[in-house]
Subunit: 686 residues, 2 copies
């Protein structure tokens, strides 16, 4: 007997319930949950240690459903186990305001570790979760105190297996020898376009072997639970390699259309559900039925896990007594609180300090806070360490100790040239609790991994994107590397802060504001080129998003120049030219428009004041600056390759042009008779 | 002897010149060109058939330098061969206005096939070039007329090998059995972060075998030209698999720091260049020297190629006589001209036609134009064919004939769940000449491949992105799938048109405008949900970007509502509510803000008229709409999972809210005393 009777009952209940739920919603994906039922049942009844009574228990195993469209399955399992997810919630599947949305969201539903659905993200998040576990274990575990010792389980399908982010992340996972990562690959040979034969005929197992994974293949995922059980045990026994278990299944198992694309993305028809229920011993006239013995089996498992959680909590108590310093630090980190007084470590500057690139000023912040005061910072770069300046001097690389290149306690990750994986892995690390990831690449390559970055924002994760070479100011590398549209993207994204600091104080201030937001990712756009330190800049001002550089501004100005980052000093020089022509100028630095938007309307109107025309200066797309300015100096084409000063000249982003534009604007509105205010009181976006 | 004396001289000249060029620019990457010199020399002297006298010769081989940062190499080769790239141009490497920018750009430099630099793009472009070759060959070749019969050669490095886009594209290339694609993998074990041991330890060759590629390994890429020669011959002999030749080289070969990261991204120091020149028999006091025998050797090769090109041109002439219809069509396609009268095939609608989703209306266009009148259209989808509606009824899949799933003459590509590869492959297809690619995914997943999409724009390529499920209107799939920030991104991108058509006529109009632009990519943002056909819409109006829906608008309006796509009909209903309250309303449909921006200021001011306040309505981020409106109805958060009508209600994007906002705006400006105009005359972005 390869599957026990009670297991079979559980499996069939999942299948029937998945059909009911998607039918009830008149939307969703029944096929994958039905095909996955046996492996999910095996995992949750025998392996995954999660406790509905302690859903955030730090020692729990992490489970990721990378093919998030199969989330009916995940909701069913959470319901069976006794998580805060009722039968009523299952009936509200895919309804506005429910905790059972169309794809699993960590912010909506207890028991969901990471937000999945966009294919390939979940498996890459899982790599991050497994890295976090190794990091926390290496940092906190002591003899007899295996505080962190959990597995990360993933289910993923053919769709995930085709995505580049998955390839990147799994290659890195193999390199890092993440032995506690176990991936179950649902090989059902069906994607939306039909049989995988039409586009996906590679040898996946061989590919994973090439990555250095341990691999197993099971041919009967529809029936053979005991082989799955054994395979997971075997995977656990392999400690120096991540494990892939390929399990051949039949999508929509039990449906009249099992094994076909038809069962993938729409509910089964009522006749089909009827025969399904009959086949599996359910009353075809009843919906949403869970036999008591199924609840019993899952509740028994939940009780087992609750005992483990309680034991773990006791262990933690005892740990805190034996290792009070580590214990206190651990508790603080798990709560997401930063160490008291950490802000005092942030460097401050005066205009006398030598001009410095903000990427270097960012390094100075990292050098202080990552090495001296915030041990939960875990950094890295997508193979641009020397350019992003993301590594502090005393950093150790996060590497398998056998490589002699670092150790799992190291807090610097060599992501390789894998931007998308880096972003998605950072999401996983942040979701684990206890770590704050930051990672670097060129700003232009933020969008190589935007699929993950938008999920950072949607998932309320504190991740810091250290994006250097932030404009045409990178110079010689040219337009293939010069971001133009990138900040329009980040500013248009909800729950994401875009910082473009102008100097040392603003760079420190950007980190201060970014780190304080524990549910929001931040993009730091940093220069390659040196910038002067400005009179009037401060760390605290950054938190207002935009502010008047008082020492560089005149009273009763004729015009305001609003600029960000490297263009603030250009605006300052432009102001000087205007002043020579008798024009009084206000210079506004706007390191973070999103924070500015959060200020009271009175404050915003005091900075960009009624009656004062505004010219915006930013060496990226002018798109979007109409909100804060009457005219714009910026980019409306792609950039060019050349020394950065020449490139600025070429695109007319110069003090002289700013001054000319200022004069034009003043004249225009004089002729026009009035100056439109920028902040009407209505609309969702004031 | 593994390398002849003259070959060695050529190789060393490349190395020395690469050092001079980067030193001269005081910027750039000498190491890769120096290490790649032997393989590049072998390729260009023996295999790659390109003709400086006929640089656009359609029968030429295509060469792609995927590690574009090594472009000094490519410029040197073009110079040696006699392309329009002088020694003076080499001296202007990485200078503003030169034809030798920091990374190769197809729009700047004759002989550059595709714009590379962002890692992984080139190899994926090459897959597209190889697909195009197979497609054109299957379409046009006749017995005794091998019109299309070229190879696509790629050089790529460790960086490219780590990128997900490369994995996706190479997996597909294996599936498609692209036998004429030959990739030389420069395995020098160095990336920016140092030895690949820190992050990249997978077995690349095994991975490519898993993809179904033919593989070879050469261990002495620094010296052994004859093995390379043989390996390429062997690769050519394999006709049913793409070929990977892994060649172990030493980065910066000849430098004192050869084999180290130091030689990667900055010029060698003068002492190092001196010893290099001495070592290789060059005068250390002379710069930019090419021995005559090197020119001779390359010119001799160029002459051989010119004979081939001339032969090809004769063959084409004769082909045009024997097959006049095909010949004429081919010539038309190679010129990038559309068939006469093709616009007549575009469907037109009246308000009496049943409400239809714009993705279905897009299908109706494809059904007509792809199947009946524009044979150069080559479509596809990233595994969402049934959702994107990108396939016409009579389409045949582009597949290796042995699969029995299609043939190389088929014009529908099953990209698999590989968005980034799809975008990059479309770039390659478009760059080949003679084909116009279009490809579908959900709008939200455009950014999975943004790294490629921005290069479509930078490269002046006509690619049509068919992006369906374009807002919260996709409903149940929820916020993981609902784009919010996507159109801010596309609109902020230079040389890219964003179309969001409101009905049937506008969908046809969007295709009309998009296809006419032969140097610009277009994004078509299309709904999942049905929309009514509007009175006053037209194909022609779309070309103006935005226009007044006259039959739905009042004279002397109190307010204008500007909307796009699915929100135009919401605005129309909102206008009705306002009218009931005695307010006169103008309704403006704005299917393409970028085309609107191109109109004369007078036209723009006639649509969004001075003295009439404007409310914008779009169910995506309001970011950027401040340019065209005084207030916005749109999204400032992520979306939600639910039936689409409920989701619209939830986010208050409804006729009633539009009407309320309209009333508020009117009142606000009445109190304010004036209504600011939206288009000042100054600034680069008016």
């Amino acid at each position: 007997m390869v599957t026990t009777e009670i297991d079979q009952r559980c499996i069939n209940t999942i299948r029937v319930l998945a059909a009911d739920i998607t039918r009830g919603a008149n939307s969703g994906h029944p096929g994958a949950p039905m095909g996955l039922a046996p492996m999910a049942n095996t995992l949750f009844l025998n392996h995954v240690r999660v406790d509905p009574k302690n859903p955030h228990w730090p020692g729990r195993d992490r489970f990721v459903l990378s093919n998030g469209h199969a989330c009916a399955l995940q909701y069913i399992l959470l319901h069976f186990l006794g998580f805060k997810l009722s039968m009523d919630d299952l009936k509200k599947f895919r309804h506005v305001g429910s905790i059972t949305p169309g794809h699993p969201e960590r912010t909506h539903t207890e028991g969901i570790e990471v937000t999945t659905g966009p294919l390939g993200q979940g498996i890459a998040n899982a790599v991050g979760l497994a890295i976090a576990e190794q990091s926390m274990a290496a940092t906190f575990n002591k003899p007899d105190y295996p505080i962190f010792d959990n597995y990360t389980y993933v289910i993923l399908g053919d769709g995930c297996m085709q995505e580049g982010v998955q390839s990147e992340a799994c290659s890195l996972a193999g390199h890092l020898q993440l032995g506690k990562l176990i991936a179950l690959y649902d090989d059902n040979h069906i994607t939306i376009d039909g049989d995988t034969a039409v586009s996906f005929t590679e040898d996946v197992v061989k590919r994973f072997e090439a990555y250095g994974w341990h691999t197993q293949v099971l041919t009967d995922g529809d029936h053979d639970s005991s082989s799955m059980e054994e395979a997971v045990e075997k995977a656990k026994a392999v400690t120096d390699k991540p494990s892939l278990i390929k399990i051949q299944t039949t999508i929509g198992y039990g449906s009249k259309n099992q094994g076909e694309e038809k069962v993938h993305g729409s509910p089964l028809d009522p006749d089909d559900i009827k025969q399904l229920k009959e086949k599996f011993g359910f009353n075809p006239d009843e919906n949403y039925v869970v036999p008591p013995e199924v609840y019993d089996r899952y509740h028994a498992r939940a009780d087992e896990c609750d005992i483990m959680a309680k034991k773990w909590n006791k262990m933690l108590e005892s740990y805190c007594q034996d290792y009070p310093k580590e214990g206190a630090d651990l508790k603080r980190r798990l709560e997401g609180k930063l160490p008291d007084g950490w802000e005092n470590y942030l460097p401050r500057y005066t205009p006398k300090d030598p001009p410095t690139a903000t990427r270097k000023l960012s390094e100075a912040v990292i050098e202080k806070v990552a090495s001296e005061v915030i041990p939960e910072l875990i950094g890295g770069s997508a193979d641009l360490t020397g350019s992003n300046n993301t590594r502090w001097k005393t950093a150790t690389d996060f590497q398998a100790p056998t490589t002699k290149l670092g150790q799992y306690g190291g807090r610097y990750i060599r992501y390789g040239v894998r931007e998308h994986a880096m972003h998605a892995i950072m999401n996983g690390i942040a979701a684990y609790q206890g770590l704050i990831p930051f990672g670097g690449t060129f700003l232009n390559f933020l969008t190589y991994g935007w699929g993950a970055a938008r999920l950072t924002a949607l998932s309320n994760l504190r991740v810091i994107y250290v994006m250097t070479h932030d404009s045409i100011g990178l110079g010689e590398d040219g337009p293939t590397h010069q971001p133009i549209e990138s900040l329009a993207l980040t500013r248009a994204t909800p729950n994401m802060l875009t910082f473009r600091p102008a100097d040392g104080n603003e760079t420190s201030g950007a980190y201060m504001a970014a780190l304080k937001r524990d549910k929001t990712p931040s993009i730091l756009a940093l220069t390659r080129q040196n910038l002067p330190h400005l009179a009037g800049s401060s760390l605290e001002a950054v938190e207002k998003g935009g502010y008047i550089l008082e020492p560089l501004s005149d009273a009763n100005p004729d015009i305001a120049l609003v600029a960000t980052g490297s263009e603030v000093s250009i605006a300052v020089d432009g102001a000087e030219i205007l002043r020579k022509n008798g024009v009084k100028v206000r210079v506004v630095s706007m390191p973070c428009t999103e924070l500015f938007d959060e200020q009271p309307i009175e404050y915003r109107r005091s900075v960009l004041e009624k009656g004062i025309p505004v010219v915006a200066v930013e060496a990226l797309s002018t798109f979007g600056w109409q909100k804060y300015s009457h005219a714009q100096v910026g980019m409306v084409t792609f950039g060019a390759s050349g020394q950065y000063k020449e490139v600025y000249e070429y695109f007319n982003i110069t003090p002289q042009h700013v001054a000319n534009m200022g004069q034009d604007v003043i004249k225009y509105f004089k002729d026009y008779g009035s100056i439109p205010e920028l902040f009407p009181q209505f609309g969702p976006c004031t």
